[in-house]
Symmetry: C2
Subunit: 139 residues, 2 copies
Amino acid sequence: MNLTQATDYAFRAVLYLARKGKGEVVEAQEIAGRENIPLRFLLKILRQLGQAGIVKSYRGVGGGFSLAKAPEEITLLDVVEAVEGPVKINRCLIDPQYCTSQRGGRCAIHRELSLIQNDIIARLGTVSFKKILEREQAF
Amino acid sequence: MNLTQATDYAFRAVLYLARKGKGEVVEAQEIAGRENIPLRFLLKILRQLGQAGIVKSYRGVGGGFSLAKAPEEITLLDVVEAVEGPVKINRCLIDPQYCTSQRGGRCAIHRELSLIQNDIIARLGTVSFKKILEREQAF
DNA sequence: AAAAACAATACTATTTTAGTATACTTTGGA
DNA sequence: TCCAAAGTATACTAAAATAGTATTGTTTTT
């Protein structure tokens, strides 16, 4: 029932870029330094965020990363899925070959877990980075 | 964002006992066989459920396990916590020593995750095994 | 063309997961 | 009384996931 460290880093990297605004390009090194994230690991994560269309990258001298969308268009769910793949609280719910109950994912437990999983996904989808920025201002 | 296989087995073992009713003693071997769970692994899990006060064990010939409470008094949350310990979607939220943001768990991201975590815990706490049994009957 | 920045792939150490093995204790019944 | 059936306790282990690191390559600006 855990998000990975990589996802936590991703959240903070996206928030960092969100503070700068949609277009602004920032070097990975700056984010790594400010957010206490190992540079090479951050680069790997930023590439995943890039493939998901959350950030854009610019190579060469003066390059870096910027948000590819406005902060209100990016949710925690988007970032989780970009880094970890589809959210699943039980592997059985995604891939029936792992359903050790031998009931093809149709037992009462797995139906219930499926509902809870849907709630979690919906909940993560309601939190945009614009919202997080606003809450941050409030302090 | 995953429950472990052990937790999944625990859910099914408790449901199996719940079907029998509160007092009835069932051998681990029977549960293992019916639910497709490795026996020794199940015994380990049942011991954890025992320490959490969810099941009672009986040793010796004719021994086994029974529910220690009525099915309506046992929730998915109880079982998750018995097997995995406290629910935490980010280790930083429980143990600040792991908070790599260097902000003592007080950044905007971690506040938001904390709210979501509370929702998940509340949600798991609303699903009792009585409820699951009832849903099962409905099929 | 040199240097700065990201890209891609492969590798590695650590931790967690998912069990297994071994030896022991309790209990009921022949 | 003693033995077999059941759970207890501790230690061990293989495989997978996590959290990085290393190396080499490509793009872009000056």
